[in-house]
């Protein structure tokens, strides 16, 4: 049982789970790492590395931005934290300006247009509280294309 086990925890329990998860992944429990995670856990706004840096610096004034980047990277790699959206290095363009969705192959990186929006629109609207106005939706599917197959891509 790891950190992915439950939906809502109190902070202390989640810190305990974090410690366990770090140990399981061979990550040392440094002061910086603990504070970075604590700050991310307390944040409700999906902060950027820079935002985490600014906040953690209030507790550890000597921390450096590259440590924040490195730590967030390690934790993401171990699936202890997540990242909003895909981690695309550069912007990708397409001539089709109509709203549609994408399938991205984890093997070869191929991006394929798909049209899932219509299928989901009703369900999607129900996913947020009524007070929210949903204007558009974009679905990003990930998996393997026929060429890469189930085990084709290394991962």
């Amino acid at each position: 049982m790891n950190i992915n086990g439950a939906a809502v925890w109190d902070m202390d329990d989640r810190m305990d789970a974090f410690v366990t998860a770090c140990k399981q992944n061979g990550l040392r429990l440094t002061h910086q790492r603990l504070e970075i995670y604590r700050e991310l856990m307390a944040a409700k706004d999906h902060p950027s590395a820079e935002m985490v840096y600014t906040r953690v610096r209030m507790r550890i004034p000597t921390i450096s931005l590259d440590t924040v980047y490195r730590t967030l990277g390690s934790l993401e790699e171990c699936n202890i934290i997540g990242r909003v959206g895909a981690s695309t290095s550069s912007a990708r363009f397409e001539s089709n300006p109509l709203p549609h969705d994408h399938f991205i192959c984890d093997g070869c990186g191929e991006i394929r247009d798909v049209f899932a929006s219509e299928l989901n629109r009703e369900a999607l609207a129900r996913a947020v509280p009524e007070e929210y106005v949903v204007r558009s939706s974009h679905v990003e599917l990930r998996g393997f294309c026929p060429a890469c197959g189930q085990g084709g891509g290394r991962d």
Copy 2:
């Protein structure tokens, strides 16, 4: 009627529509702009600015990368072309590593966790051909949060 009018066109028709769309948006029909669009239209791989640059340079060896960036930016702004995923300047992190979805407010930029995945999984799988293996899905909803309201954000 603009470029958004039909689903499948042949290249010449789409170029015609592109010319019309440019005129409607007050964009001049420069050699570079035409070739950039032609290349993006011919591409099936959702290329990056750099990729477009490399390809267009085969026809226009003197074109510069910043022109490609500027052109793609203009065309996107006029909704003549699209961009894969959100145009996020920096990576955003979250302590929740479980698969879930996001609602992003176009007014204030707030990112809110939502859980639409379960609702859509079956429909999503049907959105791609059978030979494709879907391993994960991420839905990005956009609209307005209660604070920003329908007309709260400018857009």
